[in-house]
Symmetry: C2
Subunit: 491 residues, 2 copies
């Protein structure tokens, strides 16, 4: 399986494809088709239910995408959120200068100043990999998209490069609304934007993408996690910073052994465990998941420690699909400083403190990529998606065997009953084998067929997507049968 | 009830408030709080279920927000999507020139060229209403937000001013994915952006807002609607263009009498009926709804006829909350012309045609405003939101009467069972009366209280938000009780 095959497959069945294809597409921007939009909605719904509706400590918000510019001054994004770029003087192609130096010279210059990278490029006479031309000066390029708000020039604003800051700036209000509970978390799902130099790998590196984030606030002096005993023994494929420095590979280990002593350690372990559970619950192959501690020089400017949940793509190798960052008190302190408002919380004894925060941050598109990599099956007979019913675009498809002799009428009646409870699809066109294949491709777990026997004994066949086995069930028991099978479904 | 009272209420209970308040807010941009995000998600979910999952003819997509610039050249937005503005030379305040002329002189110049409006302003010596200063020249101001995509200057792109065009550009692909069905519709929910000169009235006129749109395609030569008999007799408060020209007011009339002979007339009537039904299903007061035909000079450049669903706000009067536009073949024809690709559909006999399209387009925020106006109740004792359980932030709240004597343990057990099926809230802090009031304010239909009697006979009280009546129910029957009451709930 490779990303190109998956991209072609996704375009073909209506999951996702480049936006504005009729105008040649637009690099880094994708549209979701009829099948993809259902999958995406399902993943977001399951995430929200898991972390907001099923967790007492967490409430949601939904912040603006175009945002007051001061937010990004305080957060450090105006100052820090840039890449180093260089452009070929001959062919005009632009490159990330640090990536180029790594690829051509094998030198890691991530995070180094532009001048230093420029010097390395001159000294080693690095040329344009595409045409051999001379490279222009290495410059900073801020990754935030700008837009002007209001008439007559307007105010320079930014499309949010992360959803997180909308949570931080709302902390004082939401903390009061949550009646000063501590620890507590704020969750948000929504679009974010980064003006990447070279978007690539289908949905993996986009300019417009969607995040699902939680900012989980706690008192560093009272940081015990009540669920710690449930999660501390859990095992994952783990890789600490130390192991990486020693050149070791990931190995099965207790999550608790991944995180050193630090404020909020128990909560960090809890969030790693919950994160892995979430991925598995939407059908990501647990054998392809590892948790890797970021090396100190990889970490963002705000981070006291970051653990990435990574997925092993056959062709791209291990890649981050979620980051869990310990942001300390950085963001709340900065907003307190820049706004002059209080970002403090209050302890039962009346003393005040700025909460620390742990941030589990998922990419929606990357989660779906990992799901699809895990689910895609192709053999001589067919292609099918072995995805979990709770995220499948449709749970059930209903067919009359033929579109005559009263079969469509019976099938439609069953279909109408089913769709009051489950996402369902009705199809009477074409031969039955093709109709099954089409549902296999988009991952519909169950196909119900009304045939001539239905007219005699009121039974229908239910076909299982994965085994292709069929069983006969009385039509009045179909809904209960589906309910039961969805509930007990295991990857 | 006025919009200011509602805005204050919404901020107080955590529905919505200005974004980045700590930095002074940002005109036209709002954030949704813990209560509001649940309401918004619920409205969107009900809409999607109603129009996508429950209608065979409709599939969904989710398009990019930052979009290829050619899309907006073809759509006419680069050329036409502007306001006329003028700015006071003294105080610098900007105005929509046409609104200013209407307010000051009572002359309707909507859609007139900038030069003509400029002449009227000079001739009548219209001055700045704020400081009396001289007004600058009347100019065009395009309402699309621009942003540059890519490094080194980048490509000028636009934040979509409507979701619709993302549907139109994807028509050829989605039509094939839907196996050339006709009529058929494509639905989409998502953000859109308009750089309004003066955003105002809380969530009513925003710069960043959310749309729920359907583009419903049909063959003008085969435009019968199979559901027409079900809807043609339905009545609404209606107001035709003719009635407006005669100075008449809205009156109860058959929807069928609102729409003159035109291609797709039956579908237009169907969409008006479905639209009104949707509003009522989420709790908008039907007595405050009317359907008004737009006058020819109000219509957008693409429209062959537009009917607005309007809501009567106490203070703002009748205002559009949904527009249903007949866009003819305008958009598909333009994209065919600009892209050189085919946007034709095929009839069973093999002949080809460009489909016509009817576009029902809802504003998410306006729908919620109308819901909240309809639901808000205030008397001497309390403020409560009489909203439908299917859109209420929580369906159930669970309380122990006191947080001791084993009552919290029983209450939490009940709460955990309920929340597997319903959005539920648990609260054991503060006195019971205050806890009820707090749930009343955010519209929770049912509050369940565990008291001392529960320990004896295993019954709990269930309190109805609207009547404040309580009844005792056995704790094992609570889930069934809620299921039944939610199902039968009527405004």
């Amino acid at each position: 399986m490779d990303i190109k095959t998956l991209a072609d497959f996704c375009a073909k069945v209506g999951i996702a494809f480049p936006t504005a294809e009729i105008y040649g597409g637009f690099s880094g921007f994708y549209d979701w088709g009829p099948v993809g939009v259902e999958i995406k909605n399902n993943v977001k719904r399951v995430w929200w239910r898991t972390f907001v509706h099923q967790m007492d400590e967490i409430v949601g918000i939904d912040g603006s995408i175009v945002t007051h510019p001061d937010v990004w001054k305080a957060s450090g994004h105006v100052e820090h959120f840039h890449d180093v770029v260089t452009r070929c003087k001959k062919c005009g192609r632009a490159y990330r200068a640090d990536k180029l130096v790594l690829e051509v010279l094998g030198i890691n210059v991530e995070g180094k100043p532009a001048e230093e990278i420029d010097t390395i490029i001159r000294k080693n006479n690095v040329r344009c990999p595409s045409c051999g031309g001379e490279l222009g000066p290495v410059e900073y390029f801020n990754l935030m998209f700008e837009t002007k708000v209001g008439p007559y020039g307007g105010v320079t604003s930014y499309l949010r490069p992360e959803t997180a800051q909308l949570i931080f700036v709302n902390f004082p209000r939401v903390y009061l609304l949550a009646r000063k509970r501590m620890p507590f978390g704020i969750a948000q799902m929504g679009k974010a934007y980064r003006n990447e130099i070279s978007p690539r790998n289908f949905l993996f590196r986009l300019r417009e993408f969607e995040q699902m984030e939680i900012e989980f606030f706690f008192d560093p002096k009272d940081d015990a996690c009540p669920y710690y005993n449930e999660v501390k023994g859990k095992k994952v494929l783990g890789l600490t910073a130390e192991m990486q420095e020693r050149g070791e590979k990931e190995r099965p280990m207790r999550i608790a052994d991944l995180v050193p002593e630090m404020p909020g350690r128990e909560w960090m372990i809890f969030w790693i465990a919950k994160s892995v559970d979430f991925f598995v619950s939407v059908g990501v192959d647990p054998k392809r998941i590892r948790v890797r501690e970021q090396l100190p020089d990889e970490r963002a400017h705000y981070s006291m420690g970051t653990w990435d949940v990574e997925f092993r793509f056959d062709d791209l190798g291990w890649q981050e699909i979620e980051g869990i960052a310990h942001r300390g008190t950085y963001d709340l302190s900065r907003h307190q400083e820049f706004s002059g408002k209080s970002f403090e919380a209050v302890r039962p004894d009346g003393s005040k403190f700025i909460p620390m925060v742990i941030e589990p941050s998922w990419g929606v598109e990357r989660t779906i990529l990992a799901m699809l990599y895990s689910a895609y099956r192709k053999d001589e007979k067919r292609t099918y998606l072995r995805i979990h019913p709770q995220v499948a675009p449709y749970v059930v498809a209903v067919f009359p065997l033929v579109s005559k002799d009263g079969l469509p009428e019976i099938a439609r009646e069953i279909y109408k009953e089913i769709r009051t409870e489950f996402r369902a699809f009705y199809d009477e066109k074409g031969n039955i084998g093709k109709r099954y294949r089409r549902q296999d491709e988009i991952g519909t777990p169950f196909c119900i067929t009304v045939d001539y026997q239905t007219r005699e004994d009121e039974t229908v066949t239910i076909r299982d997507r994965d085994t292709m086995q069929q069983e006969r069930v009385h039509k009045d028991e179909v809904v209960a049968w589906i309910r039961e099978h969805v509930k007990n479904w295991r990857v």
